[in-house]
Structure formats: structure tokens, C-alpha cells
Symmetry: C2
Subunit: 212 residues, 2 copies
């Protein structure tokens, strides 16, 4: 069995999503055949990397004369398994948590937020229409909906504690929006999404371009 | 002059942020010296990659016997230039835009949202305290605050048009939260942050781990 680190899984998957986005655009533009170097250029990687990623996820296609755009799209969408609905929970109904709980793109992508949690009784009451529960009901709801994925949008001071509790209750994948790098057991996948980093990387890239 | 693609800049910077986060944690735990393989393991890359990234950003340290944690932190923070404030604008005050405009971490990281924009007159009025302007005032405010960075949180249907307008008004870096891959001239940096992808990658990683 090949050992794949958590981060390797994430980076290659991130690229597959990127290739998919490029293919959707190329397809809309009427491009019926693409080469690995086209995708490589769009994604800022080498053509070898594209082919390696395709191979890792068993995405096939006729290389000679290029891949068929629609075939690649269809293979990737089978991979993404867009028909399957994944039940996820969201913990922390601050501004970001509330925005994510209302984010329309998720359900289109099969991501179904079955319940949100917050320690603030006001948030539980004020948003009774949208399934905001107290943390005391986490275990029950995780079991009832067989949830294995959680989105964490709590303040950084409580992120690690919330994470530990979730893992103890059976959560195996965490999307962490708090600026804390979470410690988890090896059998748990964490994706740390740091919004400040995303913006700062653009700020820095722009200032580097100015210097050149 | 070495040609660096937009994506290369972003990926190496992303790793620097990751190393920085690990170093903050190690420092809190009292670890005074680290080796490239420690950071490599935490970031899911090779030690060679860590050293290559350090070299690209001119982060130095005594390799023999390990790097001093505080020295690395200090060099990285100089690189991040945390004292400098970057003025940015935010376009699209839907749920996500509103959440980001109130996101407390940004200002701690020197990211200052000077103004937000929305075509909806109700959003302009309802949030008069928080500088929500009509798009007609974009040019004036971009010039007044010398803004070069914009965050786009408009619906996907208008994202490319908004992007084109911003580039014409002098914006050189875009953080795009819409699920559209934006087309920009080569002198503009775009960071496409796709929140559905971030969640879906965890969903897929967890299901792959179950299969193994």
C-alpha cells in the first residue's frame, strides 16, 4: 500500500480541481481537444506534473493528438462523484460561519451542511430556521446523519479544543478556517484555509512584480 | 531576470506561510532549533523543497545544528512586512463579502479593507457605517487610497466583468472568491479561492483513506 501524506493528497487534488476549471472554460470556448501542456500552462505546473496527476487519479485519455475535452471532464466528474451528497456540519456561527452556511455553491457541488453549531444561545434562537444547535447535540447529530466532515469557523482560541472533541465524536475530515494550525491524529485529514494568507500572498506577489 | 509564473509565486509563498505557522507553534512549545526536515514533515514536502523555498525568499540561518526558531520567525516576518498596511477594496457585499469585511484577522495582518462596493442601493444604505459604496465610485476610491488589490465576492455571472473593470482602473492583484476562473493580463496576479474545492478536497481525501 502506497503511503500518501495528507498534504500530497490535497495538493494533487487541488490541481485536479484547477485542471477541471480550465477544462470547463476551454469547453465553453469550443476547444474540443487539449494537450497536457495546455493544462500545465494554465495551472502553472509542468506537463509531466499534469500527466502524473492524471495517472494518480486514473484519469485516462488518448494522449496522441490530445485529450478529448469532454472525456476529461466526464472522467473528472466521475472522480468528483458529483451525484453523491456529502453531509457536513459547521461549528462556529460567527460572520464567516453564517456566510458559509448560506453559501449557495456548496449544495450545487454536493456539499450539504446538515447542521450548524454555536455556543451562543442567541444564535441558536435567532436562526431557528437554519438548524443552529448547541454543542451538546453534536454527538447525536453526527451519528444521525453519519457525518464525517466538519467545517470549523470558531475563534482561534477554541479551535484546537473543538477539533479534539469532533475527532473524538468520529469526524475524520476537517476544513479549518481558524488561523490556528490544528493538531490531529494521522487518520484525520485537515485542510487549513487561512483567508489572510490568501490575501497576503497576492499583496506580496504584486509588490514583487513591481520590483522586477 | 528570472521569469516566475504567477502560480509559482503563489505556491512557494503558500509554503512559506505554512512554515511560519509551524514555527509559531514550535516556538510556543519551547522548541528553539529546527531542521529543514522538521518543517518539511509538517508541511508535507521534502527538506530540499524547504531549503529551496528559503533560498528563493532569501531566508538565511545556520543549517548546521539546525535553524534558530526565532531567527527564522523574524526573517519571515520581515519578509511578510507585517508593519506595512495594505489598502484593499472588496467588491460584492453578499453574505461572504459582508463576513470578510468584518473579518478581524485581516487588520492584524496589515490587510486594511478601505471600502466595499455593491450595486444594491439597499446594501449601500443599510451599512452606511461600514463604507459600502456604489460601483460608480470605484475609480475615485482606488485613486484616493492608492489601492492595487481587490477582493471579488460578486456572483459568478458578473465576476469577469467586475474583474475587467478593476484592472482598467489600476488594480494589479485580485483575490477571487467567485467560482469562475478569471482571465487577466499577464501583469495582474489572481488568486482563485474556491471554497467548494477546499471542502470537496477533504471529502475526497477522507473517502480515499477509507478505501485504503
Amino acid at each position: 500500500m502506497k503511503q500518501i501524506t495528507k498534504h500530497n493528497i490535497r495538493n494533487s487534488l487541488r490541481r485536479i480541481f484547477l485542471y477541471h476549471g480550465l477544462l470547463v472554460r476551454l469547453n465553453t470556448m469550443g476547444v474540443t481537444r487539449v494537450f497536457s501542456y495546455t493544462l500545465a500552462e494554465g495551472a502553472g505546473v509542468t506537463p509531466e506534473q499534469v500527466r502524473k496527476d492524471f495517472s494518480e487519479y486514473r484519469i485516462r485519455g488518448n494522449r496522441r493528438g490530445g485529450y478529448l475535452t469532454v472525456t476529461l471532464l466526464s472522467e473528472m466528474e466521475t472522480l468528483f462523484n458529483r451525484d453523491r451528497i456529502s453531509n457536513v456540519i459547521l461549528v462556529g456561527m460567527g460572520n464567516l460561519g453564517q456566510a458559509l452556511s448560506k453559501y449557495g455553491q456548496f449544495i450545487q457541488r454536493g456539499i450539504n451542511i446538515v447542521a450548524s453549531f454555536d455556543i451562543d444561545p442567541y444564535k441558536q434562537k435567532a436562526r431557528a430556521d437554519s438548524n443552529v444547535y448547541p454543542p451538546g447535540r453534536l454527538q447525536e447529530i453526527i451519528e444521525r446523519f453519519r457525518v464525517t466532515i466538519a467545517i470549523i469557523t470558531v475563534p482561534d482560541i477554541s479551535a484546537q479544543e473543538v477539533c479534539n472533541d469532533l475527532v473524538n465524536m468520529g469526524i475524520r475530515g476537517i476544513v479549518n478556517f481558524s488561523p490556528v494550525l490544528l493538531k490531529v491524529p494521522v487518520y484525520v485529514v485537515v485542510n487549513n484555509v487561512n483567508l489572510s494568507d490568501e490575501i497576503e500572498s497576492v499583496v506580496m506577489s504584486v509588490s514583487r512584480m513591481k520590483e522586477e
